[in-house]
Point group: C2
Chain length 459, copies 2
């Protein structure tokens, strides 16, 4: 039963499991105590910190273990912002950061700070020059992920780090998706990561803060982990995290090449096997194990269930798979289609056969969902009219786009279709459909309820 | 090798270990995902929440799993204070709360809030009437531990909860030391606890917030655990925490009676076996497994090392065993001796033989430390003088008290000894020595360096 959602959480690596079991007996006591059980726990904690610091590329005393990657990001951002409050209260982030970064930014704004979101291109990458231009006199901190968690695009961290250094702004790199593969190139000031992304246990994050970076811990004081991660350390999990990071890194070079070839196969075969599909993210500067594509006229949740029934566990950035009914902010920032979105992220050890079976199953699964939704199989033909209005109010993604596709053949070339929709995903998916179909997206107008999206038929 | 520091961290309960191992294979995926691995993780998380909620005595949707007891306290206090900001910004705590509560209170003060610390009596208990009197019109939250972590004294939670209810103030109970033994009596509004205190794994805390309690989560938004505990859930540890809480509770009634008898033996034998010892904490209203005593003229760190060499792991609230060089705030608030302090907290399964061996070893260990430090074996006699000054500047606990004891016999009854000391512990220990020795503590005066502590010989 292939699990293709390693970017959410990787299964526990055998080395992590082994280290965790050993440390359960040795590392349960309070490492702040002077007795032998405490000293034993302290030794394990110190050894884990040295191993993890070496993998990160920092000094052991620069590294704190947090309870999650999210906590590492929250503490890193709040501490760095407070440490440079005298410089100013401006924060720069990319538009495609993990929600833990964007929620920290929103929290900062709610306390009177200012935030600039640097946009990305259609591949999901920031332009270093644009990022550099967003740095200001009063910028206290800049954040950039090492690679995107939804589409796999690798960010130009070294270039951005150079610009940050020139501007005298510390850079926090969220390395959650890449730290198991390779160290982040030098030049960062703070780094955050999460063990369960590389096959370590849940409950362990890393926060590295370079010596010399101004940092003022926020919230109630706590003496553990240099004051940067309140609460009793989970030493067995920390030991397992550090041990598995070393193990995963040792395997990464060979495994990355292998997985990257499998992802290339998916990237090239999916558009051939499935009509009306858009493979997103940078095809070259990307994570080795991750690929994302969107299928027109498909409801992401139903497609996930179809694939799940066929034995494949994947994830999706479609609005219909989230509790908020808004599409992924990453796909939105890239301006690509969000409906019928599927993210495939291969864990270590994924076989060629697993991938081939997935490619066998996918076309039928997509076709089945499209059939259920009554999606247009080919361009529809009907009596021509100069313009049409489609009322898709109250209907959710992907229905508005399906309705648009059904009727576009019914207006002459040069005529328009106006789609009335109150679904948040339509704002992203109607322009994306136009780009894919080479029709003209005229624009959006306010309507009584929701919006009116106007499309001109070009072909 | 008996481990007598269960109040810091209990060894992993066999049920916790078993549950953790089983859940490592079933509970590593993201419970927010729709695929089978995600659904399986969600089922485990839901079942653990139901089991833990039953043990706490709340509804499952009132309970969040945090990454530690400290985090549960931090989030509980900040959320409850923010939720009632309109009422006011006053916080009431007892003077002997865990540092996570007192640090939260200090953080609240640093942001402009006000805090009242309700004092305790010499046994370490708050007086309900005094606690009630500290509740004000603008009190947003009150905090009281179920039992003290350093001396074992049980607090009058039900009485204080009643007074809080009358005053319309929510009460947060820190139940870290007692939740493995029994549920906290009803009437609380928020409850915090920590799994590694009851034999669960590290990395799991509980925060219960009763429906109807105004609560506004602070910090960056996060959708997990009702928004009250940011970061990816550590489901294997959560499962182990819930399973072991049930197991520990089932064993608690019988085990508590047994351990309580062992503690009674320590409480009654120690003052007989060791001269100049003060057993602190309430002898009756106390945790079953915990007893604390202080030994005059003894350096806590050296005593801990002696006991450790003899195979006994205990803890201490003496200043010389902490990085801050200040004595335990609990002993300070009780006004009892802090030097040579030893906390014995028995884990489940402690045998009578272990305790008897401890009672065999202790007198020699204390005598050895006293000998090394040159402590007075009996009242010294010297040529009488009306008053003496002892310069103990730059010397740490227990030297100032030892010097005082050495010379007090050298002044006539009615004469005074003035001890010059810049050690923080002297402020607590010199008055405590006077109380134990029935000498008069005249008071403290500022000196060029440190303070001058004046003692009058009465006998």
């Amino acid at each position: 039963m292939p699990y293709f959602d390693a970017a959410s959480a990787a299964p526990l690596h055998p080395v992590a499991r082994q280290a965790l079991l050993a440390a359960l007996d040795e590392g349960w006591a309070d490492p702040a105590r002077l007795h032998r059980e405490g000293r034993r726990a302290r030794l394990l904690l110190d050894a884990a910190r040295e191993a993890a610091a070496e993998a990160v590329g920092c000094r052991p005393d620069e590294l704190s273990f947090t309870s999650s990657g999210t906590r590492a990001v929250h503490s890193g951002i709040s501490g760095a912002l407070a440490g440079r409050r005298r410089v100013g209260r401006h924060l720069t982030v990319s538009a495609v950061e993990h929600s833990s970064v964007l929620h920290s930014a929103a929290d900062h704004e709610s306390r009177g700070g200012t935030v600039t979101e640097v946009p990305v291109d259609r591949s999901g990458a920031v332009d270093p020059a644009a990022y550099g231009a967003a740095l200001r006199e009063d910028t206290a901190l800049a954040c950039l992920q090492s690679a995107n968690h939804e589409v796999g695009t690798v960010q130009p961290v070294a270039e951005v780090a150079g610009l940050c250094r020139e501007a005298g702004v510390p850079l926090l790199v969220d390395a959650a998706q890449s730290l198991g593969l390779e160290p982040v190139p030098g030049g960062w000031s703070l780094l955050a990561a999460s063990a369960h992304k590389w096959g370590g246990p849940a409950g362990v994050g890393l926060l590295a803060v370079r010596k010399g970076v101004r940092f003022a811990v926020q919230g109630p004081a706590d003496e553990r982990e240099s004051g940067r991660a309140a609460g009793f350390e989970d030493i067995p999990a920390i030991v397992a995290a550090a041990a598995s990071l070393r193990a995963v890194r040792a395997e990464a070079a060979a495994e990355s090449v292998r997985l990257s070839a499998l992802v290339d196969r998916i990237r090239s075969r999916v558009p051939v096997l499935v009509p009306d599909v858009e493979v997103v993210g940078d095809p070259v500067r990307r994570l080795p194990h991750l690929v994302t594509f969107s299928c027109l006229y498909v409801d992401g949740e139903t497609l996930l269930h179809e694939l799940d029934r066929a034995g494949f566990s994947v994830s999706s950035g479609s609005s219909c798979t989230s509790s908020t009914l808004t599409p992924s902010h990453v796909l939105k920032a890239m301006g690509v289609l969000s409906e019928g979105n599927v993210r495939v992220s291969l864990p270590a050890g994924t076989t060629e056969e697993d991938v081939d079976r997935f490619l066998d199953v996918l076309p039928g699964a997509v076709a089945g969902v499209r059939e259920k939704l009554g999606a247009p199989a080919a361009a529809a033909s009907a009596a021509p009219a100069a313009s049409l209005v489609v009322d898709a109010l109250g209907r959710r993604c992907p229905i508005p786009v399906i309705e648009l596709a059904k009727v576009i053949g019914g207006v002459p070339v040069g005529g328009t279709v106006t789609v009335l929709s109150d679904d948040e995903a339509a704002r992203l998916d109607i322009p994306a459909w136009c780009a894919m179909r080479e029709q003209e997206y005229v624009g959006e107008e306010p309507a009584d309820r929701g919006s009116a999206y106007v499309v001109r038929r070009l072909s």
